[in-house]
């Protein structure tokens, strides 16, 4: 699934490790989502959207 995770993370000056700690997942999982290799579950997608204070549909595109 396409997403703007990397873009938003850069805008918020966060490292993958920072975001991983906020979302309570491993850094490798953040990397896999950014590279569109892994589609997160709905709770994780909400958690990531909450980290950037945006809507889930602004973060994940079809």
């Amino acid at each position: 699934m396409k997403n703007k995770l990397r873009e938003l993370r850069a805008r918020h000056r966060m490292t993958q490790d920072d975001l991983a700690k906020i979302a309570k997942v491993s850094r490798q999982t953040i990397n896999a989502i950014e590279n569109e290799k892994y589609d997160p579950s709905l709770p994780l997608a909400f958690s990531l959207a909450r980290a950037f204070k945006c809507k889930i549909e602004d973060l994940f595109l079809q």
């Binding site: 997942v25 491993s26 490798q28 896999a32 290799k37 892994y38 994780l44």
Partner: protein
């Protein structure tokens, strides 16, 4: 209790825990040292055996507690990988067992050992069981490596 989950990591090949830091190696070394010290001490053999069993039971409980914590800390992606790896290992085990039973039937070899007999300890079919466990462990490890690279 004694060991910390941070010292260990889930094993890729096989089951249980792998060592992650020097503290993990130190933990194992201390256990080995205590067991050696018990057996080197000038106490009766029965007392040594009892002390070893009690100590190893405590270590086993600690190990189970660490393993539970380490595996519960895996995130959703890692848990999914573990489940897929376990499933593949089970598929391989079932396929290997079916192949073994078919081969046993073809060669008129008894596929079942006699239960409740000490002869079971010397049965060559233990090697089949060990081979099966190794095969499952390798399948699990290879699956995890592939999933980590691709997913």
């Amino acid at each position: 209790m004694f060991g910390k989950p941070e010292w260990f990591t889930p094993r890729k090949f096989g089951w249980g825990l792998g060592v992650r830091s020097w503290q993990g190696f130190a933990y194992i070394a201390v256990i080995a040292f205590i067991i050696s010290a018990v057996w080197a001490s000038p106490i009766a053999k029965d007392a040594k055996m009892l002390a070893s069993i009690i100590f190893l039971a405590v270590v086993a409980l600690d190990f189970i507690d660490i393993m539970r914590t380490v595996y519960s800390r895996l995130d959703e992606r890692e848990q999914k990988h573990q489940l897929i790896a376990e499933r593949n290992a089970s598929f391989v085990a079932v396929a290997a067992l079916i192949a073994y039973v078919i081969l046993s039937m073809l060669s008129n070899m008894p596929a079942k050992t006699t239960p409740f007999s000490w002869d079971i300890m010397w049965n060559p079919q233990w090697f089949v069981l060990m081979g099966l466990l190794v095969l499952m462990g390798v399948t699990k490890g290879v699956t995890l490596l592939v999933l980590e690279r691709e997913n």
